[in-house]
């Protein structure tokens, strides 16, 4: 179970990082589109 | 060049005849293909010897030789047109479908001649067993048909790009994979003495492949051919 816990944490961290990156990218594009508040 | 009222077949025949005459005079593509095939076969046979070459190995070797020989010669039909400048005239005057069919037939002829020459040599060099030639023939025919049906369109594509020869192999190989896999599998069975009945699913796949490739090529060719 330990190994699984580590793998799970790593995966979540990677996923969170990817998601935040995409969110930032999305915001940059929306700024350029003029749709960002 | 027949008028546009002439049938597709006669127009394709005209394209074929022109290339046939050219090839007869220079034998450029034929020489390339034959020399490549004979050389590769000789190298392989020399290195491996005759001792116990399994049907699997024989089958793989045969189709490797055929595949690379095809790669060395089948793109010429279009590259030559582009390089000698005759492509423009062909584009203006001929029906794309006819051009494709004519080129397909030329490639088929080239590959057939090569196969007819190479197969006996193969059986002699490797001592594969003459009794297996007969079941091997239908597989051969389907293989040749399959090879040119897939590669003729690709040849037309790369003729209009740079780095032609390298690109030809890179583009052709993934498309040829299913064909080669079926051919090697069927040949292995045929050369192993299992007869054609054991290759039924492969044969069906080979026929289907040829039909799909030729139909697809016919529909797509005009987009490659016309500016």
């Amino acid at each position: 179970m330990d190994g699984n816990y580590v793998a799970m944490t790593v995966t979540i961290v990677v996923w969170a990082g990817l998601f935040l990156f995409l969110l930032r990218l999305d915001r940059k594009v929306r700024k350029l589109e003029g749709r960002w508040r | 060049m027949p008028t546009s009222n002439a049938g597709l077949i006669s127009k394709a025949a005209a394209v074929y005849a022109k290339d046939f005459r050219l090839e007869l005079r220079s034998r450029y593509s034929l020489n390339a293909i034959l020399m490549f095939a004979v050389t590769t076969l000789a190298v392989v046979s020399f290195s491996l010897g005759q001792s116990g070459l399994s049907p699997k190995l024989l089958s793989a070797l045969f189709w490797i030789v055929l595949f690379f020989s095809a790669m060395s010669g089948l793109a010429h039909v279009f590259i030559r047109e582009e390089e000698t400048g005759t492509a423009l005239i062909l584009r203006l005057k001929a029906d794309p479908d006819a051009v494709y069919l004519g080129k397909l037939l030329i490639n088929f002829s080239l590959l057939s001649v090569m196969t007819v020459v190479i197969t006996p040599i193969f059986f002699i060099f490797t001592d594969a067993g003459g009794q297996y030639v007969l079941p091997f023939v239908p597989i051969l025919i389907l293989g040749v048909v399959g090879l040119c049906s897939a590669t003729t369109l690709v040849a037309a594509i790369i003729a209009r790009a740079s780095m032609k020869t390298a690109l030809f192999a890179a583009l052709s190989f993934p498309i040829l994979m299913p064909l080669l896999l079926a051919l090697v599998s069927a040949s292995e069975k045929a050369l192993g003495g299992q007869g054609l009945s054991a290759c039924w699913s492969e044969l069906q796949a080979l026929v289907a492949y040829a039909v799909v490739m030729i139909t697809g090529s016919l529909m797509l060719f005009k987009f490659v051919w016309q500016e």
């Binding site: 190994g3 699984n4 816990y5 793998a7 799970m8 995966t11 979540i12 996923w15 969170a16 998601f19 995409l22 969110l23 990218l25 999305d26 594009v29 350029l32 589109e33 | 369109l153 690709v154 594509i157 790369i158 209009r160 790009a161 740079s162 780095m163 690109l167 890179a170 583009l171 190989f173 993934p174 498309i175 994979m177 299913p178 896999l181 079926a182 599998s185 699913s201 492969e202 796949a205 289907a208 492949y209 799909v212 490739m213 697809g216 090529s217 797509l220 987009f223 490659v224 500016e227």
Partner: protein
């Protein structure tokens, strides 16, 4: 927007579940959990290629370069997923069956798909002129896609007993598909697809911005 948050939450849930529920294939053990990630990635590499092909068809019909751009963007994304699928599959093969590569039908298909993507990019690099490049790569994309049905449906029938791999893969998908496993896998598939479409949509918007930029310069 809400759906982005939803994607984040649901994906995190899937990740947690993929590690906390019992392993999908007991015979292979914990490594079979990769399935929850590997299968969606493989699915998307095919989906992306199919999308690229559809945009290629649309380009050949209307000759609008925007379609060509989308075909390229879909292909680029699909390539990334294809590489990931091949790597995850290879790792799984090593752990489960002993060797990194077996040429079993599905491994072969993903390999061929990788080659097709590679060939597509090679062709794009070899043609300078925009319109000709778009036309030639569109034709190749469509033509190459014609072989996919052969790889997916015909090949497994021709190479059945060469490797235990495929029967195990089928067994994994059909037999061990208990409700929990099936549900998590389905959720993973849906979420990966949503992720892919989101990124693709960002790419589309970037292209749009580039084009309007060019127009302003005129």
């Amino acid at each position: 927007m809400i759906w982005k948050l939803l994607i984040f939450i649901l994906m995190t849930a899937v990740i947690v579940l993929s590690f906390t529920t019992p392993a999908p294939q007991q015979a292979i053990g914990e490594a079979s959990r990769i399935m929850y990630y590997h299968v969606p990635m493989a699915w998307i590499s095919v989906l992306a290629f199919a999308m690229s092909m559809v945009y290629s068809i649309q380009y050949l019909r209307g000759r609008q370069l925007s379609y060509d751009e989308r075909a390229l963007d879909a292909a680029r994304l699909g390539f990334v997923f294809c590489v990931l699928a091949a790597i995850s599959g290879s790792v799984f093969a090593r752990v489960a069956w002993g060797s990194f590569w077996n040429w079993d039908p599905r491994e072969t298909s993903i390999f061929v798909l990788l080659l097709i993507y590679g060939a597509y990019f090679a062709l794009r690099g070899a043609v300078e002129e925009e319109d000709r490049r778009a036309a030639l790569t569109a034709v190749y994309s469509i033509f190459a896609f014609l072989t996919v049905p052969f790889l997916v449906f015909v090949m497994p029938r021709i190479m059945p007993s060469l490797h235990p791999a495929d029967s195990v893969v089928d067994a994994t998908i059909s037999i061990t598909m208990g409700p929990t496993v099936g549900l998590i896998l389905l959720a993973s598939l849906v979420l990966f697809t949503s992720l892919f479409l989101w990124v693709f949509y960002i790419a589309v918007r970037i292209r749009r911005l580039q084009r309007s930029d060019l127009k302003k310069e005129d």
